[in-house]
């Protein structure tokens, strides 16, 4: 009985009203908001997921569109209108080739350890490259790999998805083809005696 009373006190607003609210909430934020975050601001009983479908449809083909970014939502200007916004364009530091490749490897192979990135590029990851990608907010630390040494892994962030206009990392260009052709497999090198050791004489070994 109590519950019912409470329920009716906080009756959910009509769907049209929920749409308006979602528009307003998303509009006010420059960063994507998750469904849960939106829900927490809406009146009790709102069905954000459903209202979102309507809102998205409403803005389809408009100058502003509702885009999904990871588990969040955001309004963004339509891609074809970028030329009008020269004044708003942000100067991004030009990324080095190493940084771009490292970013791509993390995105396509995530979670990826430093050793895996180095194996793919065939060269060591210079200090500061990953650091810089983290500072840009595109890469973050994921779970540790459950292999000897429990190495740290790197994964891409929602900021990365947002920046490149991706809904999920499954939407990365060409990811399906790459996976199908086995190029995203983690194929270890066939072990040859001493092969691994060629480059890395450990100090301690040298002296014994």
């Amino acid at each position: 009985m109590e519950d019912e009373k409470l329920e009716s006190l906080f009756e959910a607003p009509p769907m049209a009203e929920q749409e308006r609210m979602i528009e307003a909430v998303l509009f006010a934020s420059a960063d994507p908001l998750s469904t849960a975050e939106i829900e927490s601001r809406m009146p009790h009983g709102s069905d954000v997921a459903e209202a979102m479908v309507y809102v998205r449809k409403r803005y389809q083909g408009r100058g502003i569109e509702l885009v999904k970014v990871g588990d969040g939502w955001a309004f963004r200007t339509a891609n074809d209108l970028g030329f009008l916004m020269q004044k708003e364009q942000v100067e991004y530091r030009k990324l080095s080739r190493a940084a771009i490749e490292t970013l791509a490897i993390i995105a396509y192979h995530q979670p990826a350890t430093r050793a895996e990135i180095e194996e793919i590029r065939g060269v060591s990851v210079s200090r500061g490259t990953i650091d810089m990608l983290m500072e840009l907010g595109w890469v973050k630390i994921g779970r540790r790999r459950m292999t000897p040494g429990r190495p740290v892994t790197f994964i891409v962030t929602q900021g990365f998805l947002d920046h490149f206009g991706l809904e999920t990392s499954r939407d990365l260009p060409g990811v399906k083809e790459l996976r199908e052709s086995g190029l995203l497999d983690n194929r270890p090198a066939p072990a040859v005696f001493g092969d691994d050791d060629l480059g890395e004489g450990d100090q301690d070994d040298m002296f014994s």
Partner: protein, 263 residues
């Protein structure tokens, strides 16, 4: 006619030299040996899947030779790759040894081909990624932040990076002083000189340098190495001062010391 001929040869010479140099000087432009291999493989003008690894190994080794000839210093990993490719080449050329364990030359070559294909694929993926429309360049977020109420909450924006940096800094503070602790494994020449001066008075007969090492420094390889170097340097110093004689009967033979007979 002969003039033409000579100039022709010279032209060719210059041109081929330029070509070789261009390739070698470009080594700075390569992102490691795998990248270089990928570039070389393009000269075969075939699908990466059909690239001849044997031919590629050959090309790479020629490249490294050429760099050596021109006295261009190559980073160590280029040389490591050269050694590995030389090994791979021999495996591919020689008939398989049935007693040999481990992967065959073909398996190794296949993996290298896979690595090249994967690197190229990631290059392509990176290019396609960067060619995408980007936030703040092609599409835009809301330009204005709304100020509607005066209610304020403070939200702390410290990131994991801040956290790690803070921790790194507190740890670095610890790391700084202990640098001198690391000198624990270093036996200075002054120490050696001090010790030798006390000992040489009794060195009437030839004796091995090793016996001058302090007891505690003989067992640990790192310590022994440091103590040997310092003791040797100290011995040279004492020879220079005319207090000691030093000899070695053969290359790598023990170094022997004795007190110099006063003249």
């Amino acid at each position: 006619m002969p003039d033409d001929f000579i100039s022709d040869i010279q032209d060719q010479d210059i041109e081929s030299r330029r070509k070789a140099e261009a390739l070698v000087i470009d080594v700075d432009g390569f992102e490691g040996p795998l990248d270089l291999l990928l570039t070389l493989s393009r000269s075969q003008k075939v699908d990466l899947r059909k690239v001849s690894i044997l031919e590629l190994a050959e090309q790479y080794l020629v490249f490294v030779e050429e760099a050596k000839r021109l006295r261009i210093e190559l980073a160590a990993d280029y040389l490591v790759m050269a050694a590995w490719l030389a090994f791979l080449k021999s495996r591919l050329l020689l008939p398989p040894d049935p007693t040999d364990e481990g992967p065959s030359g073909e398996e190794l070559a296949a993996h290298l081909a896979f690595q090249l294909e994967r690197l190229e694929a990631m290059r392509g993926a990176a290019a396609r990624l960067m060619a995408r429309d980007q936030l703040g360049r092609d599409f835009f977020a809301r330009g204005q932040t709304e100020v509607m109420t005066r209610k304020r909450t403070v939200r702390y924006t410290s990131t994991l990076l801040d956290l790690m940096q803070a921790y790194a800094q507190t740890k670095t503070r610890d790391d700084f002083e202990p640098l001198s602790l690391k000198r624990g494994a270093i036996y200075t020449m002054e120490q050696a000189l001090e010790r030798m001066k006390g000992l040489i008075g009794h060195a009437m007969e030839w004796g091995d340098l090793e016996q001058y090492l302090p007891e505690a420094w003989r067992l640990d390889p790192k310590k022994r190495r440091s103590a040997t170097a310092s003791t040797f340097a100290a011995a040279l110093e004492l020879v220079k001062e005319g207090k000691l004689e030093i000899r070695q009967s053969d290359v790598f033979a023990p170094i022997e010391l004795r007190k110099r007979k006063s003249t």
